[in-house]
Amino acid sequence: MGKAVVLRVNGEEYELEVKPQETLLDVIRERLSLTGTKRGCETGDCGACTVIMNHKAVSSCLVLAVEADGAEIVTIEGLAKEGKLHPLQEAFVRHGAVQCGFCTPGMILSAKALLDENKNPTEEEIRRAISGNLCRCTGYTKIVEAIKACSGTL
């Protein structure tokens, strides 16, 4: 029934047997217990489940686990290293970009994928990069400021 896949998540390799209909989101949350990746809508509309897969931000609810076979995946748990926050995490804290926090992991990962590819994005590029990550609390200003503060520094 299942299919064996190998996922590299936050630098660690996992060999798993997954069902054909199982999503990457299901696997990350329920099999790997990495619950920092949030389930917001399961239709790819809200961005709460964003992870970085092979250097691109993806909605993990829209990716089947079998499609992720062999992929390099980064979740929010993979950002802080040796007790030190990633600069984006630090900036979100410092700029007051976090309220309820439910969109925060996905938002930070979309920002990371952007900055990994484009070190000095314009405000418009930042807003476009996170336009698939819905936030109901902040009005986005402080999130954009936090991402701007990391431009050119990563």
Partner: protein
């Protein structure tokens, strides 16, 4: 030296770290040993009689551990206000909206639970449904609740001054009708719970909640068990906005399933469940009549308000009443009459939502005020300044406004937005584009209310033997910063960094009794209690420090992690040293208790004379700039300038964050969001079809914090979580009118409505 070393500063929130690392555990992140997955079978019909329910096949499915129907419930009708009780946890004879709870199952996996639902057979006898509020009011309309004579669920009336005289004395009278839409909270975390009964019959419910103590009472009532047998534990909460005040029937369903299966049961809404059943903002029809003198003074105001209640009472009666209170206060109108009716319809029902009725009524009053100003040849700012509330004024309704920054809010938004010049600019940009600028003001409570006859709370604060501080406070954390408010106030009193502080706020077995996060009350009520508790424990640590410095406590000061002699700051000990000294040398730990009491609250229940319901008021003025494309109907919001009376700002980042978030929710309400219903069915239950504002939609905001130093707030602060949403729909409508000359009296100003209206009015 600045007056405060911690208070007011834009310091990082103490709960931000766990949120940026993904470590914060929300409800669905919690997995308990043996946990089952619950699902609710909901009515597919807007109105039908239940003829028969057969659960045998579902029960026989492998992996199903419990199936329940109304027979398994105590059958006690519920509503937030017991006097308005009308909802059974699981329907018995009738379903009243598409989504009404009929049965529930618990199984080993969510997939088995889902499959079990499909095996429950329910035979319905369809009834005519009434889904339009005005149709529902007509004689002979189908009755949503057959045991009632009509579909009027509740009424509310207020009368102050002499309305007849007010209109008789007026030079002009304006009458208009405004219609507001149904919108959803859209918390990014959908609602859910894990219920778990122990063998002694004590129920623990984990759930995102903004009022754990009142939810505890509600669940005890529905399950007909003592309150002492219910414990609510609140994990990290992914947004509230009013939606998480009153329990919905998932919680009792999960509890009963848990009692039968003897296992914890988790039920979590899908996004579609959330849109279709999690309850919404109440749509209002407001018939507004206003009398003014030639000079612009408002003499009389009368509103007839119809609320589309949906199938059941929830917070409807309270939003009706509250909106009337604000209606009576803004501009201190001498003669006021307010008559409201909540009307049952066969649709998803409403609940509390940021703004709480006030935003609906303010859309009417502030839209009409612009029309009045135009007729009188006045500017929108002029008529507002003419009527604006002032500090320490007695209102016609009996309330006294204490701190009040309305005039400053209007003047500052005008200055910062370039109001005077922009009002004069050409509005027709050619190519079918128009631009305009509009304003709206509002009043809102800044401190909850005395409606329950109780408005107090306690807080306990301890200093550990290592100098770390724990505050046990009932301040809910739903994203708005309740924990940080408590930490920042405590840190100011004790002269320490907030990072030294842990706040425990999420377990009804631990935290003091409190009414929860609503009415922007947390900063005021829980903030005052936290301040008192910090002052109490400060006496204790000053006792220790005085001994170390061989002085008396009265001569000491606490600041920057030190306790020192005020006259000679070089004589100092560190906060931590003093804490260690107390335990090691004096032989006792340090703790304090603080209480906020509102002595007026027990005297003023909901039915008593108004006037004393709201401990303090907050005011705001928003200026919105728009560009309107008559070719597509798009309303593009270019900028929002918002001034908010904060009393005193506790944390600038958090205050701005509340206002910026409110603005964008308000803009969504004004131009893009709407629960589209057809025959009682929600037609757009996804974020693809229900458009909340994204990062590319959000305009720049200029947020201005006006400090008025409230006499009763902690360090002068008052609550600001809700109010900044309130002026938005009217301000947008006024800006679009300025741009196009077309007045919109119905929300939202979405592309379709704007396009066709402009086409009709302008050709």
């Amino acid at each position: 030296m600045e007056q405060y070393s911690v208070f007011g500063k834009p310091l990082p929130r103490i709960d931000a770290w766990e949120k940026v690392t993904g470590e914060a555990r929300y409800l669905d992140d919690i997995f308990m040993p043996g946990m089952l997955y619950g699902k609710v079978l909901r009515s597919p019909h807007a109105h039908a009689r239940i003829v028969r329910i057969d659960t045998q096949k579902a029960e026989a499915l492998r992996g199903v551990r419990a199936v329940i129907t109304h027979r398994d419930t105590p059958g006690v009708k519920f509503s937030f206000f017991p006097v308005f009780a009308d909802k059974l946890p699981l329907c018995r004879d009738k379903v009243r909206y598409i989504g009404d709870e009929v049965a529930a199952v618990a199984a080993e996996t969510a997939a088995i639970a889902e499959q079990a639902l499909s095996l429950i057979e329910v035979e319905y006898d369809l009834l005519p449904a009434v889904t339009d509020l005005e149709e529902a009011m007509k004689p002979g309309a189908p009755l949503v609740h057959e045991d009632k004579e009509k579909n009027i669920a509740f009424e509310g009336h207020k009368s102050f001054g002499d309305i007849k005289k007010g209109f008789a004395d007026s030079d002009y009278i304006f009458e208009d009708r405004y219609v507001t839409s149904k919108v959803a909270h859209c918390c990014m975390e959908t609602h859910g719970c894990i219920a778990s009964f122990d063998r002694l019959g004590k129920l623990t419910v984990m759930m995102p909640s903004q009022a754990p103590h009142t939810v505890r009472q509600e669940i005890a009532r529905i399950l007909d068990i003592p309150r002492s047998k219910v414990r609510i534990v609140v994990p990290a909460v992914g947004g509230g906005f009013g939606q998480r005040l009153v329990t919905d029937m998932k919680v009792p369903a999960a509890a009963i399933l848990s009692r039968i299966a003897r296992r914890p049961v988790k039920i979590v809404n899908t996004r579609e469940d959330e849109f279709c059943t999690a309850r919404t903002r109440y749509p209002y029809i407001v018939e507004l009549k206003t009398g003014v003198r030639k000079d612009g003074r408002i003499l009389a105001r009368q509103a007839r308000v119809l609320i589309d209640n949906g199938a059941y009472n929830d917070k409807g009666p309270a939003t009706l009443n509250y909106a009337g209170e604000c209606f009576a206060v803004l501009y201190n109108v001498p003669h006021v009459r307010y008559d409201g009716y909540g009307v049952y319809t066969n649709k998803q029902f409403g609940t509390a939502f940021r703004g709480f009725g006030n935003v609906q009524v303010t859309f009417a009053t502030e839209s009409q005020l612009d029309e009045i100003a135009e007729k009188l040849g006045m500017g929108p700012e002029e008529i507002r300044l003419k009527n604006a509330n002032k500090p320490n004024e007695l209102m016609s309704c009996g309330a006294t406004v204490t701190s009040c920054g309305l005039v400053e809010c209007i003047r500052e938004t005008m200055k910062k937005s370039g109001w005077d010049e922009k009002r004069k600019m050409k509005t027709d940009l050619g190519n079918g584009w128009y631009r305009g600028i509009g304003m709206a003001t509002m009043v809102h409570t800044g401190a909850g209310g005395r409606f329950y006859g109780y408005a107090a709370t306690d807080t306990f604060t301890k200093i550990s033997e290592d100098g770390c501080i724990t505050v046990i406070s009932p301040a809910p954390e739903i994203g708005q910063g309740g924990k940080m408010v408590v930490a920042q106030i405590t840190a100011e009193v004790l002269g320490v960094d907030p990072s030294r502080i842990t706040v425990i706020n999420n377990d009804t077995d631990i935290i003091p009794y409190d009414l929860g996060a609503w009415g922007s009350r947390t900063s005021f009520v829980c903030g005052n209690a936290a301040k008192a508790a910090a002052e109490s424990v400060k006496e204790e640590i000053f006792g220790a420090a005085a001994k170390m410095l061989q002085t008396t406590p009265g001569k000491l000061c606490a600041r920057d992690e030190k306790i020192f002699i005020d006259e000679d700051p070089s004589k100092a000990v560190s906060f931590e040293e003093a804490a260690v000294y107390a335990v090691s040398n004096l032989g006792y730990p340090l703790s304090g208790k603080g209480r906020y009491t509102d002595p007026l609250a027990p005297q003023v229940g909901i039915d008593k004379k108004y006037g004393h319901h709201l401990p303090t008021f907050t005011f705001a003025c928003h200026v919105v700039e728009v560009e309107v494309d008559s070719g597509t109907g798009e309303v593009k919001v270019v900028k929002v300038t918002a001034a908010q009376d904060t009393g005193r700002t506790i944390n600038r980042h958090m205050a701005e964050g509340q206002i910026e978030g409110s603005i964008l929710q308000g803009l969504g309400y004004a131009i893009s969001e709407e629960c589209v219903e057809d025959g009682g069915r929600m037609m757009n239950p996804t974020f693809a079809d229900y458009k909340i504002q994204t990062a590319v939609d959000a305009p720049p905001y200029d947020v201005i914090l006006i400090e008025t130093d409230d006499p009763d707030g902690p360090f002068g602060a008052k609550g600001i979580g809700e109010p900044a949403l309130v002026p938005l729909p009217a301000a947008v409508g006024n800006a679009v009118y300025h741009a196009t000359g077309v007045r919109f009296k119905k929300l939202p100003l979405n592309q379709e409505r704007v396009y066709f209206s402009l086409k009709k009015e302008k050709g």
